[in-house]
Symmetry: C2
Subunit: 291 residues, 2 copies
C-alpha cells in the first residue's frame, strides 16, 4: 500500500457503488421539480462588497416581524451603501453596519421588542426531527427554515449562515441597522437572546474569508481594515428555490443526513443536529423561469 490518500471525500462523491445508499447530496440532486418551491424575490437581498463579491440573503417573514420590517426600510433607504464589515470573530460572527455611528437612520423604524425573538409554534407546519437537542425541547423544520421550540414558542436557531440583529445590553435596542452572520459552529446560546432575521443563501465565503479582527471580540482596530459594502439592494438577479420540507425528497435527505449509508461511511450516526440538516437551496438562472 504505497499510494496514500489524497482526496478521501472526493472519492465518496465519485464512487457510485450500486450497493451503497444514495448520499444526501444525491437525494437532493435527484429531487423532482415539484419538490422545489420558489423563494419570493421580495424576501431576497443582494449585498455587494467593494471587491465585487455578492452575498445573497433571504429574509424570514414568519419571525421577527418588527426587525425584518426595519431591515426592509433600511434597504429602501440605501442605509448600508457605503457602510462596512466591522467585525470578524473566528468561529462566531461577521458583523456589519455603520462604523461611524453617525449615519442618519430612515424615519419610521419601529422599536424592536424582545418579543420578536420568538413566536408561537402553531402555524409553521413544524416537522420535528426525532433526535434530542441540547438547547431546545424539540428541533425540526417549518416553512423552509430550521426551527427550535419549547413546545409552545418557536425560534430560529443560530446555525451557520443565519443572520441576526446586533443590539445593546437592553433587549429592545436592536433596530436592524447592525447585522451579523454566524461563521462557525452554531452559537445556540444566542437563541432567544437576539432576533434572527434570515440567512445567507449564497456567497457566504466573501464574508467568512475576511481577515479576523484583532480587537476585542474580533472588531477591526483600524478603519482601513474594514471592507466596504457597496450596496445592499432588494431582490436577487437570480431565481432561488428551497427544497419543500413536506416533500418525500426532503424526508429522505433528512434521514440520510442522520444515517449515512453511502460508501464512505461505516458507522451511521443515528442522529443529526438541526444545524447539520440545512434546508437545501438551489439557484435557477433567471432565463430558466419556466422550469
Amino acid at each position: 500500500m504505497t499510494k496514500y490518500v489524497f482526496a478521501p471525500f472526493a472519492l465518496l462523491a465519485i464512487a457510485s457503488a450500486p450497493e451503497a445508499a444514495p448520499s444526501p447530496a444525491e437525494i437532493v440532486s435527484s429531487a423532482p421539480a415539484t419538490a422545489w418551491q420558489d423563494i419570493a424575490q421580495e424576501d431576497l437581498l443582494e449585498m455587494t462588497l467593494a471587491n465585487g463579491s455578492v452575498v445573497t440573503i433571504q429574509l424570514v417573514h414568519e419571525f421577527a416581524p418588527v426587525h425584518v420590517a426595519n431591515i426592509r426600510k433600511l434597504v429602501a433607504a440605501h442605509f448600508w451603501d457605503g457602510t462596512s464589515i466591522n467585525r470578524v470573530q473566528e468561529n462566531y460572527v461577521v458583523q456589519w453596519g455603520d462604523a461611524t455611528e453617525k449615519k442618519a437612520l430612515p424615519a419610521g423604524l419601529g422599536t424592536a421588542p424582545a418579543s420578536d425573538y420568538v413566536r408561537p409554534l402553531n402555524g409553521l407546519g413544524f416537522l420535528p426531527l426525532p433526535y434530542p437537542d441540547p438547547y431546545a425541547r424539540r428541533v425540526g423544520h417549518g416553512h423552509g427554515w430550521p426551527i427550535a421550540t419549547d413546545g409552545k414558542q418557536a425560534w430560529l436557531p443560530h446555525c451557520f449562515g443565519m443572520i441576526g440583529v446586533g443590539r445593546n445590553l437592553a433587549p429592545d435596542t436592536g433596530n436592524g441597522a447592525e447585522l451579523y452572520v454566524v461563521n462557525g459552529h452554531a452559537p445556540r446560546h444566542l437563541d432567544r437572546n437576539l432576533a434572527v432575521v434570515g440567512r445567507v443563501i449564497d456567497g457566504i465565503s466573501a464574508l467568512t474569508t475576511l481577515p479576523r479582527g484583532t480587537g476585542a471580540l474580533g472588531f477591526y482596530e483600524k478603519p482601513e481594515e474594514r471592507t466596504f459594502i457597496t450596496s445592499i439592494k432588494a431582490g436577487s438577479r437570480d431565481r432561488w428555490q428551497n427544497l419543500r420540507i413536506e416533500s418525500p425528497s426532503f424526508a429522505a435527505y433528512s434521514l440520510a443526513r442522520a444515517n449515512r449509508h453511502d460508501a464512505f461511511f461505516n458507522v451511521p450516526a443515528g442522529g443529526a443536529d438541526i444545524c447539520n440538516v440545512p434546508v437545501p437551496i438551489r439557484k435557477l438562472s433567471v432565463q430558466a423561469g419556466g422550469q
Copy 2:
C-alpha cells in the same frame, strides 16, 4: 433613541455590572494557576505556511495511537515540508498533504486500523455533560479533550478545530499523511468514521481564511491556488496549558457556557452542545516558565 447599536457584543465584554454573573471568559481568566496544566511539548506541532503564518497543533495520545504514531514519524521525516493546503470546503474542512501523490513516505508507517477510531471509555476520567446529544449517548470531557461515548467506547467528536486523518473508501487506508481540520459547524456524522488525532490550539485563522476551492468538495482546481506548507515541526516555541477539567474553574465555566447569566443574556439556554464547551487553552511565554 437615535443612537443605534454598533458593538453589542463588545458592550458585553466591557460591562461588568455588579449584579451580573461572570461570563465564561471571566471565569477562565480568573482561574488560579493550579487550575491549569501544561500541555506536553512532545504533543505539540508547529505548522508554518509559506506566508509565515504559524498554526499550533496538539496531538492526542489517548486516542488513535497508530495514526498518531504515524504522524510523529511523518513529522520526524519532514514529510509535509513543501507540501500544500489542497482543499478548503466552506463550513466543512481544510485539508493538507502531498498533492503530487508522489512523495516518498517514511519507512515504518503502521497500517492504521478502523479500530483506532474509538477506544474504551474507561481510563479517560470522563466527566459527562448533563445535556442530551443528538449523536452520542453521552458527551463530556476527559483528559482535557471533548469526548463522545456510547457508554462503553469513546471517541473524539469532530468539533471546530479538531484534526482528522483523511482516508480512502476502505476504513484502514488513512495512514496519517493527509490531514484535515474542521473549519465550521461540527460535522459529527464523521465521528467514528475517521481517526481524530488532535486539534488546532492556535492560529487556525491562517487556515480558515484561505480561499475556498472551486473544485468538487472544495479542492483547488489549479496548482497555483494551493498554499505551500514550509514545515511541520515537532514542539512549539511557546508553552501551552489547558484548564484542568477536574478543576472548580472548569466546572464553573462549563455551567456558565450552558447558563449565561451575564448582563447581555435574557434567556439562558439551559444546555450546551459539546462543541460549544471547548476546553480553554492559554499560551504562556517561554520566558515565563516559572509561572
